[in-house]
């Protein structure tokens, strides 16, 4: 029982991280049918930045604000460097060029982080608690404070994202661009602005995930790829179109991973991924997705 509850909380915490990262993929894909294959690397950069600021003695809140601002700038630059120029190339461009350009940025980021902080594993100080292993006792079981804080913050951010998507004017603009960029443009939507916005939001979501995950894992410059892969898996469970599906998929993925890691410490992290691949073969539009086709 002790283990069960601890694993569940750890799983939900990691699942919340995956959900945040996957939401970034979702929102960029929704509006542009492209996304950042370096999403995990953006997360990694944020984790390193917040670690460096905390170690340098910057107040936690200020550190988080600075990192989020830095990720805004990164998201903007990503759109300018890796996404926008492809439109100018139009049909001269490579199929799936955006996969390669965003992956190229990810490689550069990995290398830069390695040059600054070295290639070995680092440990970030906790954000919310006194030390990495502070616990609270819940129903007689020790639960990490940090994990609980992560879950709370992640849900607040996801809630804010839903408000943005479904209740704000910008959210409507995102859906308008997703439906038809040309029509949206004619209706006075700033299409380019929306595209920049979704990549900035995606980047900030990766940033929040990075800030939160720092104290949970050992950081190294090549940690990002795994998170990109898992976030893609989670987003595809939701069919890249269903934000609620992504939330459920992310939590399930995190919990499943926590338990399969416990069960098989050598290859446990691979089973949820294999499960997602298999489920894609059976239900290609995702467990929660829909698919539309119109041929004329």
């Amino acid at each position: 029982m002790t283990n069960f509850l601890q694993l569940l909380v750890s799983g939900v915490a990691m699942g919340a991280i995956y959900t945040l990262t996957a939401k970034g993929l979702f929102i960029a894909h929704l509006a542009t049918h492209r996304l950042n294959f370096g999403q995990g690397d953006f997360m990694m950069v944020a984790a390193f930045l917040v670690m460096a600021l905390l170690i340098a003695g910057v107040h936690a809140l200020l550190a988080v604000i600075l990192v989020v601002l830095a990720l805004c700038v990164m998201g903007y630059l990503l759109e300018r460097i890796a996404i926008r120029p492809l439109d100018a190339l139009a049909e001269r461009s490579t199929p799936y060029a955006w996969v390669l350009t965003t992956a190229g940025i990810a490689l550069i980021l990995q290398n830069l982080v390695e040059l600054v902080w070295g290639g070995s594993a680092q440990y970030a100080p906790p954000l919310f608690s006194q030390s990495r292993d502070s616990v609270v006792i819940v129903m007689g079981v020790g639960i990490f404070v940090e994990e609980i804080a992560i879950i709370v913050v992640a849900f607040l951010v996801v809630g804010a994202l839903y408000w943005f998507l479904f209740a704000s004017r910008w959210g409507k603009a995102v859906y308008a661009v997703a439906f038809n960029p040309e029509a949206a443009n004619l209706l006075g939507v700033d299409v380019r602005g929306v595209i920049v916005l979704v990549f900035v939001i995606a980047s900030v979501l990766a940033g929040v995930a990075g800030v939160l995950i720092g104290p949970l894992v050992s950081l190294h410059p090549h940690i990002g790829l795994v998170f990109t892969i898992k976030a893609l898996a989670v987003a595809s469970l939701g069919g890249f179109s269903n934000p609620v599906g992504i939330l459920i998929g992310g939590l399930l993925f995190g919990v499943a991973e926590a338990f399969s890691n416990y069960w098989d410490s050598a290859f446990g992290d691979l089973y949820p991924l294999l499960f997602v691949l298999a489920s894609l073969a059976i239900k290609p539009s995702g467990l929660f997705g829909e698919r539309h086709a119109d041929v004329r």
């Binding site: 199929p95 799936y96 996969v99 390669l100 290398n111 290859f267 041929v295 004329r296």
Partner: protein, 584 residues
Amino acid sequence: MYRNLGYLLAIAIAAAFPFLVPNNFFVHLAQIFAYTTIAVIGLNLLLGLSGQMSLGHGGFYALGAYGSALLAGSLGWPLLFSIPAGVGVALVAGILVGLLCLRTRGLYLAMATLAFGFIVEIAAQRWTSLTGGTMGLFGVPQLDFGNFRMGPVYFFWFAAAMLLLVQIGSDYLFASRYGRRLQAIKESEPFARTIGLNVPIWRTAIFALSAALAGLAGALFAHQSGFISSEAFSIRLTIGLLIATVIGGLGRSYGPIFGAAILIGIAETTAALHEIGLLLYGGILLTVILVFPEGAIGLAGKLIPRKTAKAPPRRDAEEARSALVLPQAKGAALDIVGVSKSYSGVVALSDLNMSIRPGTVHALIGPNGAGKSTFINVVAGLYQGDKGTISIDGKDVTGTSAHARARLGLARTFQNLQLIQGVSVLDNVMLGVRPERGAPGDFLAWLAGGGHERGERRRAEAILEFLNISHLRDLRPKDLSYGHRKLVELARAIAQQPSIMLLDEPVAGLNAQEAASIARVVSDLRDRGTTILLVEHNMDFVMGLSDRITVLDFGHRIAEGTPEEIQKNPDVIRAYLGTDEAAA
């Protein structure tokens, strides 16, 4: 013929190369070049020709390497068996991963292959009892044909021979109907299905072939130096192969040769800069894609002026039309019984019955939103109806897919034209022409040069001439006017020699003269026996051409009869013009 001279020249260069270079290091580089190019060719076929992305080719490469290394090392298989077995492992994995693209594609495939490559890498790292992990697997038998001193040269010759065979295969794919069809699948899946291609099979096959080529490269790599470690199969390998594919010239059969050479050149000159290796890779990837998207071949092509296709003088219409006598078609009957279709509650077709007699023009008309396009798609098999049966000449085809119906003699045109931009107008028409030779015969004819696909080409040219657009045959569809594009689409459908032709708004957007010439073609087709189902808004066209007309409104059939009966039918007039009460 120049092509075969090129192959002979390549053989001569490869044979002489080891004796021309100052030391064995260059032979070593040449070995790397030979097997790397094989993997890059595989990626070029996948990404350049079929438009599918793989971020997991390092995984197939690793499977080929471990498969062959373990069978030869632990089980003592001779290399000439273990290498094909290693390729087989990669092929099977390719089929399994490729099965994902039976129903998914694009982003999902990129994601699935990324995950696949990651899983293989992790397994190679952690399954140390089998793979040796990062410490590696020592004592893998080397491919030296029993001669230690000359071994590297023999290995190079062997790898170069493999490369030549793979390159010939790639050249054939690019030059033949297979390349054309893959191009069609890449651009428009509905189009590909309409010309009878089983799209998922094609997608999976090209993916598996690409994976097998990566496996062959990996197997050769394993037996090059006698040592492999999981370090070699990281995401960097996949990225490196992708860089080579793009930098050489994506979608050109000779791109991989340049790409692999440039990649190896970069790797060697920057070997001392390994601290910023990823930075360089990322930078090169961005630069190539954003600045030189056509790669080395595209760049070279810009320096050498290409001869422009000259347009032959337009012929007099009457003279041209006599050049082709359309073959007699055996028109089939098309029976639709009780077909319904709704989209999440909205009824598009309701219990529709229609019986189209062989060799007649049957028009389907109705206001916008009446369900006409849905109907065509259900008949063509691109949509499945919810209820009802569809039969061709009494044969129930309700459950069959679009490509199967196309093979039964159903051809269609699209309202939103589906032309393949990556190939010429003539090739678009040839996509519809039934091949005269099987694959082996066609390959041999291609290898011999000259007469490859001559018959098919002549037939496609005759159809273009019949439609009076043969002067456009070397242009790309996007360079044509709208009216001409409609004619090309019609030409492709005629090339399929259908027994039933579905025409979805063939004259929408055309001027009166163009519409009249299409009307002549359609009535010609009918006179030679083809059954035609016509959806069209242009009433002059419909009334002048049709034997029978069915009128749809809100998914219901409101009238059917001859043109004269339809013009007098009060229900039809009401549907189109509204009633007096509504007008008042």
